[in-house]
């Protein structure tokens, strides 16, 4: 036994080669996942830093910490860093990269070199955007609405847009890679309806990325052309149409919300089944719901524009379609809950994050109904209600799922277990801090506080102070995991191949896995989530 263990230790993907070159030129999907993990964490803390400054400014109704110019840059760069450089890549580029080939029983993605190129494109786009941020920043809002962005802002609009343009190709290549891998590299016996829901969600996300991101690239390119060459595309003073920009921008940016949240739904399905020791409830409904969300997500962009001046009838169509998206989302939440029925639920850290996701995503989804309701949207749009709503989806949902996944697969990625007590504590802190930060913003929004205001009428102060207090707790909830996860790297690799006693091909490999993942291509003979059978056999 001893020799086997030593063998495994020597040959895992981390110790397979040494030196910076072996990382920067790697084609191993697991190493590239780690490169992404480090890069997006950096952007998460940059974006978080901007958020901290904003929340501090908003503690008082006056502008006493930062000027209007600075505040406008803060919320713009917070959005750019968090959405484009953290949330969009987060689960696909880190967990998807690491796990997709392993869940399929493959040695790597279909195009390993393309995968490395994706990371380099991310880094070039990221470095360029960072450069633009430190040399003056940008103040257009992450939505870059014209004609402000093309004709009026005096900040670094073009450099930031170029950075995002480059980053877009990183997304597109990753999406392409995932789609081809899922189609062509499944292990023998791994039929579509035996795929883990994590794979379904990555697949659906990749389809969205592949179809929507080029539209963003075109939109940003046109924005750059108008800003530099004064060609009239969006600015009415030059003969353009500003609403055209909004249509094009949201044609990407609404589906982008699903790029951020669908992967988390995949993670949650893995976590709930593993810790409830249950087969997922309604597997096919869950798989089809993900695909339905991906398709419907392309048809609702106009719900961002109910007061923009678009036609009343267009508004009605977009409102109706937005309500349709609620159905597959409801199906998912009900099925997760039903999965717990007659389970044997063990309260470990990852599943706490999954429960956090379900709770917060439910609130985010239900408040989405408010915003889909036309007459109510008129009052709520561009207020803090919207800010609260999308943070419930994108932070409460997507980030909770991401952290749950990181905690679940951390032993697989590193071979180490983290401190369970600290981990549970910080999951709790995160949940409390999140709600305290963002729930008051729903009320602020209904009261009528517009977003992107650095000063505000005095009657809004109490709720803003609550929100800032919550943000300080929330911040702690992000810093504690950083510490204990890094600390765990000092411990010996004792996690074992399958610390959670989970099903799924990735758990058949040692932790950390060897570079080639599987010594022998696995053959799949059963459906996913066969936990009951596993328990029955005393596994």
């Amino acid at each position: 036994m001893k020799t086997v263990n030593e063998d495994a230790l020597q040959k895992n993907y981390i110790t397979a080669a040494y030196g910076i070159r072996s990382w920067l030129l790697t084609r191993d999907h697991k190493r590239i996942a780690l490169l992404y993990l480090i890069s997006i964490t950096l952007f998460f803390f940059i974006g978080g830093f901007f958020a901290v400054l904003m929340r501090l400014e908003l503690m008082t109704p006056q502008g006493d910490l930062v000027s209007a110019e600075t505040y406008n840059r803060l919320f713009t760069m917070h959005g750019v860093a968090m959405i484009f450089f953290f949330l969009v890549p987060s689960i696909p580029a880190v967990l998807g990269n690491f796990l997709l080939p392993m869940m399929l029983g493959a040695r790597d993605l279909a195009f390993p070199r393309l995968n490395l190129l994706s990371w380099y494109l991310y880094m070039v786009g990221g470095a360029y955007t960072l450069y633009a941020m430190v040399t003056g920043g940008i103040d257009t809002g992450w939505t870059f609405y014209t004609p402000y962005s093309t004709g009026y802002s005096t900040t670094n609009v073009v450099p930031v847009v170029v950075g995002i343009f480059i980053l877009g190709f990183s997304s597109i290549l990753t999406g392409l890679n995932f789609i081809v891998t899922t189609h062509k590299m499944r292990a023998p016996g791994l039929t579509w309806f035996r795929l883990p829901l994590f794979v379904w969600s990555q697949y659906a996300t990749s389809v969205i990325i592949l179809l929507a991101t080029p539209v963003l690239a075109i939109t940003l390119a046109l924005l750059g052309v108008e800003r530099i060459f004064r060609v009239g595309i969006f600015d009415p003073a030059l003969g353009g149409d500003p609403i055209l920009f909004q249509h094009m921008f949201w044609f990407y940016s609404h589906p982008a919300v699903y790029i951020m949240v669908l992967p988390s739904m995949g993670v949650v399905s893995e976590l709930v089944t593993c810790f409830a020791r249950r087969r997922i409830f309604g597997y096919r409904f869950m798989a089809f719901a993900v695909m339905a969300i991906a398709v419907l997500g392309f048809l609702v962009w106009g719900h961002h524009m109910f007061v923009s001046g678009q036609s009343v009838y267009a508004g009605m169509a977009f409102s109706a379609l937005s309500f349709f998206v609620a159905i597959p989302s409801a199906i998912k939440v009900f099925n997760w809950t039903a999965t717990l029925h007659k389970g044997r639920i063990e309260f470990r850290t990852p599943v706490l994050y999954a429960f956090g996701f379900i709770g917060l995503f439910t609130i985010g989804g239900l408040t989405g109904l408010f915003l889909a309701t036309l007459a109510v949207n008129v009052h709520l749009t561009d207020t803090y209600f919207v800010v609260a709503h999308f943070h419930y989806i994108m932070v409460g949902g997507a980030v909770m799922g991401y952290l749950g996944g990181i905690h679940y697969w951390w032993p697989k990625m590193t071979g180490r277990m983290y401190h369970e007590g600290w981990a549970k504590f910080s999951a709790l802190i995160l949940f409390v801090g999140f709600n305290l930060t963002f729930f008051p913003q729903f009320i602020l929004g209904y009261l009528g506080m517009p977003r992107r205001y650095y000063i505000y009428p005095e009657e809004f102060q109490v709720l803003n102070v609550l929100s800032t207090a919550g943000a300080s707790i929330l911040g702690l909830g992000y810093i504690i995991p950083m510490i204990y996860l890094l600390w765990s790297l000092r411990k010996p690799r004792t996690a074992g191949p399958n610390p959670w006693n989970a099903v799924g091909l990735e758990w058949l490999t040692p932790s950390p896995p060897p570079t080639h993942n599987f010594d022998k291509t696995p053959v799949v003979t059963e459906e996913p989530y066969a936990y009951e059978e596993k328990s029955a056999h005393g596994g």
């Binding site: 209007a68 609405y145 004709g151 009343v312 309500f323 408010f370 949207n377 009052h379 207020t383 517009p450």
Partner: protein, 318 residues
Amino acid sequence: MWDFPLLPEAASSTAAEVDALFWILIGVASVFGGIITAGLVYFNIRYRKNSKASRAGAVSEHLPLELLWSIVPLVISAGIFGWGAKLYFDMHVPPENAREVYVVGKQWMWKIQHPQGNREINELHVPVGVPIKLVMTSQDVIHSFFVPAFRIKQDVLPGRYTTTWFEATKPGEYHLFCAEYCGTSHASMKGRVVVMKQEEFERWLAGNRQEESMTASGDQLFRQFGCVTCHSQTSQERGPSLHGLFGSTVRLADGSTVTADERYIRESILNPGAALVAGYKPLMPTYAGQMSQEQLFQIIEYVKSLGGPQIAGERRNP
């Protein structure tokens, strides 16, 4: 600072209905959120790892349940959609008798013009109980006219007119915000809407008149820019007469028809070739860049004073 509201004041004729819909949504959200929370809590306690509850007969597929939790939300959604859409439609169609007020947004102020000649900045005085229609445009970037107490919000765009309307129900002062981010001082682009009793408002109108009525100013501009040479009743071979134009249906050279509203008149002044009236040559030069947004509104108000289609009918058939 501890005295803070949880709901905004409701001071317009549509606010109560928007609030009612909002409360319905809160009810729906509470029921669904409650079901999910109850399910999570109950299952987590009852089926925790070491509990002795029976696990016999566990199922992982249940079509009737799946259909139940798909169809029930669908039906509820359809109901909410319908109500929301109906109200949204009403909020877009001002009553016939609405008084008009003209709004120009610019970085970073609201400029208001009353037809009677009163002008305001970052303030809008209106009478209570009278529907007010706002005709709005921007002279630079996109802004958004937002009065939380009235539950109305409408983006204000450069290069086109947008409209919204409200009927204030309570005298008082209410916040006016710009809700669409418009650059550095976006957060300072705010003001107040002052709702007054009708007789007070009339007194205010009479007492704060800086200039002659918009119709009179428009008439003057009509002569000053030379519009009158082609668009008078005696020069019909060069340009169509504007008497009876406003609100009428105009037949264009390309065979299509268009309603002569504010947007149409604005476009005909700035880009005359875009919608040429049937039977006329494209002789008119553009006035783009020569008139301010306020002056355009004055000319429109003048054209309105020349009467609508019914008056035209009376004149044509004496």
